[in-house]
């Protein structure tokens, strides 16, 4: 049973085919990489999967149900969470609050309970705080809980974004260039963290990355996108020896 099934997905922006005929079937627990040169349409695929853009054509099925017409927040509530290429934290809020917000749709207390501070209010607020702190612990950010997100170093901001996405309790996690701006050592740590969270949270992960060592190191299957179309797919070993990939990346090294 596929967790995510994408058939013939296309997106046209005013005559420009950003994504054309993208197909994939992802089984629960897989760790998939999406690579390709700049402007190949990778982030557009993410935006289509998360409902930011409506597809021009094609169908996206998540856990057996179509996602057509759903708003981004509804898709998140169905179990797909993401990070952003250009980090989008709640930059003026504390690290802890950033994570707490992502628990939002799991909270059941209503407006009256919040305003009068009765009923489930305190119990659920405590629960959120505990869960958020546990997540921060996992991402080694617990000591930063009261820091304003904007003041974190770049690598920590990326980690916080992943932590925040996990707080939404997704089954499918989309990571958009999680290693961008990280040094090799941080990238190494990130790799083992990605493997570990997949195990720990029972996740399926789809990631976009330019850092080939990371993609080849953690992904089990890789799709290569160029000019909006899939030009190759397969295991890291197959991708590495595919002549079309080498051509698309002409000048760039494929380790």
């Amino acid at each position: 049973m596929a967790l995510l099934k994408v058939t013939k997905l296309s997106k046209i922006f005013g005559g420009l085919k950003a994504v054309s005929d993208f197909n994939t079937i992802i089984a629960p627990g897989e760790l998939i990489g999406l690579i390709g040169p700049n402007g190949a349409g990778k982030t557009t695929v993410f935006n289509l999967l998360t409902g930011v853009y409506a597809p021009t054509e094609g169908r996206i099925e998540f856990d057996g149900a179509g996602l057509a017409g759903l708003k981004p927040y509804q898709i998140t509530q169905r179990g797909i969470a993401r990070t952003f290429q250009n980090i989008r934290l709640f930059s003026e809020l504390s690290v802890l609050d950033n994570v707490k917000i992502a628990y939002h749709f799991h909270v059941r207390y209503g407006l009256a309970e919040a305003v009068l501070r009765i009923g489930r209010y305190f119990r659920e607020e405590d629960e959120i705080e505990q869960k958020a702190l546990t997540l921060l612990d996992i991402f080694q950010l617990a000591h930063r809980r009261d820091e304003i997100a904007r003041n974190l170093p770049y690598g920590e901001q990326r980690r916080l974004e992943i932590a925040r996405a996990l707080a939404a309790q997704p089954r499918l996690l989309l990571l958009d260039e999680p290693a961008a701006g990280m040094n090799p050592q941080e990238t190494q740590q990130l790799m083992s963290m990605i493997r570990w969270i997949r195990q720990e949270f029972n996740l399926t992960i789809l990631l976009i990355e330019h850092d080939m060592s990371l993609v080849m190191g953690v992904c089990e299957r890789i799709y290569v996108l160029d000019y909006g179309s899939v030009i190759a797919q397969g295991t890291p070993a197959q991708i590495r020896s595919n002549p079309r990939v080498v051509e698309a990346y002409l000048g760039e090294e494929v380790h």
Binding site: T43, N47, V52, F84
Partner: protein
């Protein structure tokens, strides 16, 4: 006969509307150029129009100048004021959050209005008749000499503006900055200078509108800029903010709608009609009649 008199009144209101509308167009041009270039709703723009009316008033009634020198003096004073305001109040906030600049603009607007009241008292002044008021009648339709002057001056200024924007070096620089400020800077364009120039031109046009309105309604006061300012802004949004022909078109439409509403419904609903147009355009085509849609990149 019934129908005939209706048609007559309709044409009459259209003529009134176009005269009023050309004044809105002149003000709207300043809004749209400034917005196009630094994405600021310059709330103080309507007050520059008031300032222009007062300079025109003092030039004609106290210095005894005739119409054209007074018009030029008003435009010059307003242009300098516009440039000074930009330099002192807006330029330091070039990289500040939008809301800070908008609030500063509100502050500048209040300062001009109440500074004006302090300087010239809140009493309305009677604008001297700089033209012999002639009335021409064409088959029951009345056109007065003021309306002809307004249309002629407005049209001439719009042609001049179009020439400057389309055919001159500074006009090309304005278009470049409005299209992409950073790229324009990298191409060696002095962005600050272009912004100053834009404020200058926009303010000059508003001042011309102020003098024309003084001639049209014969009465000016320090708070006269508020409503026309807002309506001209609506006109700019209606035509597509940042688009120069859009401001001209929007202004004329606003004037016509206003004349029709006052002529056929009630003048008390005149202002409401302007805002209703605003809401409608914002909801159904926020990019304006001549604009294109854009959305934030994710």
């Amino acid at each position: 006969m019934e129908l005939n008199s209706f048609a007559q009144q309709l044409v009459q209101q259209l003529i009134n509307g176009v005269s009023l509308g050309s004044i809105y167009s002149l003000i709207a041009l300043g809004y749209t150029m400034v917005y196009g270039i630094i994405r600021l709703i310059n709330f103080a723009h309507g007050d520059i129009y008031m300032l222009g009316a007062y300079v025109g008033f003092f030039c004609t009634s106290i210095l005894g100048l005739s119409f054209f020198p007074a018009l030029l003096a008003a435009m010059a004073v307003a242009a300098v004021t516009g440039i000074v305001i930009e330099r002192l109040a807006y330029r330091p906030l070039r990289h500040a959050p939008k809301i800070a600049v908008l609030i500063t603009a509100i502050g500048v607007s209040l300062l001009l209005e109440y500074g004006g009241i302090l300087a010239v008292t809140p009493q309305p002044r009677t604008f001297p008749a700089v033209f012999p008021a002639r009335i021409y009648t064409f088959g029951g339709i009345v056109v007065n000499s003021q309306q002809i002057v307004i249309l002629a001056v407005a049209l001439a200024l719009m042609v001049l503006l179009t020439y400057i924007v389309q055919r001159t070096k500074i006009g090309r620089a304005m278009r470049a900055v409005s299209y992409d400020t950073d790229a324009a800077r990298l191409m060696g364009i002095n962005v600050d200078q272009v912004i100053s120039f834009t404020f200058g031109i926009g303010s000059g046009l508003a001042a011309a509108a102020g003098v024309l309105v003084g001639i049209y309604y014969n009465s000016i006061d320090p708070l006269m800029g508020i409503m026309p300012g807002l309506k001209a802004f609506v006109a700019a949004v209606l035509g597509g903010i940042g688009i120069i022909p859009g401001a001209m078109l929007g202004g004329v439409i606003m004037g016509v709608v206003e004349a029709l509403v006052s002529g056929f419904i009630s003048s008390t609903f005149r202002d409401a009609a302007a805002f209703a147009i605003l809401i409608a355009i914002l909801l159904f085509k926020p990019s304006g009649l001549l604009g294109k849609n854009i959305r934030e990149k994710v």
